[in-house]
Symmetry: C2
Subunit: 368 residues, 2 copies
DNA sequence: AACACCGGTTCAAACGTTTGAATCAATATA
DNA sequence: TATATTGATTCAAACGTTTGAACCGGTGTT
């Protein structure tokens, strides 16, 4: 079954083909310090043979012997969330630069897969682990094992400092504030808000930011227009939620000129819901998202949103674990929280409020 | 530097803690056939100790000895392309079911990274490789090395059968035909087409399918309305291309009632371009995409498109390499091409042609 | 009493590398 | 001439597993 038996070329093959010992071949091909002592002709000879045999060192044997794998595990809770990709790329950039190899896994929102991949990461002796948990993420008891084997771990997208794990996430309160201030400056006074699910740590601070600025600007937050996404379903469900809530808001008959959605997908759902009720964005109602993922950018009208510096967060994450790895003996430094700065991206989905009320009768026939 | 030295628990640790030999411990923990011979009390004892020490077998040592890594390399040319995700998931599903571990890598459209990751895959002794090459993909000479080490390889999203590599991709001609027929049935007679870049193997057959059905249905394909995306830029550039081409089409003054875009992102670009010229979709002009990725689904109006059975393609890919792995001794079976069936997904971006000409003067002010 | 058998356990070699120490011939130093 | 130095190469042990073969004390068969 194991197909290496027949397959791969080893040092021994090259040794016998070249007439030198395995040691010499190893020294040459791995460019060990000792290779300076090896005759230039020998070096060349060995290299040629290796080349033409298509030799690639066996990472398993090498790591076993060297007692180092140069590997960082990246475990994404849901890689289909566009949110993950830039983070992941930032991480890659960081670890590659340090000569580390990222070991990428996608738990597909399944707790079972998450655990099993965490196992894998441990068994593969990753020297550090970065978890990307964009959505609801139940903690696993494996985190204990990780610590027991003292592998540095870090999480981005969730605050687990309380559990002793360094975390990186956007400053949600600032983000919520930024969004609200943008609407206020456009002249909106009556806004609807779709909050994130309770299970997500982003939800609360974002809401706080919104409330503070709203109060400060004299905006009205009608509680009938403050809805909350359910937590159980996956990230894609944000869209459905947006559609449903938009209609629900209109049904209340309350006056509003803008909707602040929890994230971009929800915002896109709101746009759809409004459209199905015959309302246009931004003419009849402004809509804002959060995150700045691809679908928000390519939608028409392009979505005004709050960008998370995802790539930078990934980079930061990489640097943090690498640093933790380098200083292992000094044992775990205290878990720290790192907040990054969100940024307002103004596009086409927001505009000054129109004189017409959002709940007035549809002007065009609804599209189903 | 290598932090395992201090870190991980080994069989030896458990052996000395339990008083049994390393062999016995290994036999128990790896559930080898011999473990039936081990006294039940011994088994329990060893297991408990392993548990409480947080033991995880070292995949490196194990694979080295077993001469099998149970690993499949997945190399995506650009994981930020939403197209890749479902394929990747299909693959995962397939390999997981067979007890294999996917080794996922993202080349980020960079040739250099692609090569270096292919190296990694070889060094990590993946027993098979699946390449997901959604976009332009220059072949690398490393493919030779892969064969030299006789690792089965397969590519999805590109036809490399000519180079002796089994390939899986959608039946593009059928897809093009499907799209065209849909527009014909709605009553469109004058359509504009945005072809894919020449470098992509999807472009030509898709165009063939379009031409055949167009001829068959008596549709007019004005050559001034047939444009071609440039090939050098990345997938994200499809959007820009769509925006630009939409305006270009309008500028020709030619009559058209629908646009058939190469892929969903391009189609979204077209929608934007039309909107910026004051035209609505689908009232003033229908637009179709291809692929059925997330942004197409959550846009408003939702995009009518041709779905590729991506997940199934991934699954198929997994099964194919696994089968190839199982039958190594029988040497490489002939490289085969597998075409999957596309499917029409009718949403809101297409409608019967309006009586007004697409090129008539804008009705609303343009949005910039 | 000699033998085979069996349950339970351990020996020892192997997987493909790396690397500190050893070897050995040749040259330089005392 | 004996001794150190150097340059080029090899020895051999080790990394943490797995596993075929060996061991060993006991019971059952003849």
């Amino acid at each position: 079954m194991g197909q290496r038996k027949s397959g791969h070329v080893t040092l021994l093959d090259i040794a016998s083909a070249s007439g030198f010992s395995v040691s010499t071949v190893s020294i040459v091909l791995s460019e060990a310090p000792l290779s300076l002592n090896v005759a230039a002709t020998t070096r060349a000879h060995i290299r040629t043979i290796a080349q033409q045999l298509g030799y690639h060192p066996d990472a398993y044997a090498r790591s076993l012997r060297r007692r180092s794998t140069q590997t960082i595990g990246i475990l994404a809770f849901d890689l289909s969330d566009p949110f993950c990709i830039p983070i992941m790329r930032g991480i890659q950039e960081g670890v590659n630069a340090a000569g580390y190899l990222p070991l990428l896994m996608d738990a597909q929102t399944q707790r079972k897969l998450f655990d099993s991949y965490l196992h894998m990461i441990l068994e593969r002796r990753a020297e550090g682990v970065i978890v990307i948990a964009s959505w609801v993420f139940e903690e696993t008891n494996l985190l204990g094992d990780i610590r027991k084997n003292n592998v540095p771990i870090l999480i981005v997208g969730r605050d687990l400092v309380a559990r002793g794990i360094s975390s990186i996430l956007v400053d949600n309160e600032a983000g919520g504030a930024l969004a609200t201030r943008h609407l206020a400056e456009l002249g909106h006074r009556n806004i609807a808000v779709i909050r994130g699910p309770q299970e997500m740590c982003d939800s609360e601070p974002r809401w706080t930011g919104i409330r503070k600025v709203a109060a400060q600007c004299g905006m009205h937050l009608d509680e009938r227009l403050v809805l909350e996404l359910p937590g159980l379903a996956g990230p894609a469900s944000g869209f459905e939620g947006g559609v449903r809530f938009a209609k629900q808001m209109l049904a209340t008959g309350c006056h509003f000129t803008a909707v602040l959605a929890f994230d971009d997908l929800t915002a896109l759902g709101v746009v759809r819901g409004l459209a199905e009720s015959g309302l246009r964005v931004p003419e009849d109602c402004s809509v804002m998202g959060f995150d700045d993922v691809l679908p928000a950018e390519v939608a028409t009208p392009a979505m005004t949103t709050i960008r998370q510096p995802l790539r930078e967060m990934g980079l930061e994450a990489a640097e943090r674990v690498l640093q933790a790895i380098r200083s292992v003996p000094g044992k775990a430094e205290k878990a720290r929280l790192h907040k990054t700065n969100p940024e307002l991206v103004v596009r086409m989905s927001t505009a000054p409020p129109s004189r017409t009320i959002a709940t007035k009768k549809p002007k065009r026939r609804a599209r189903t």
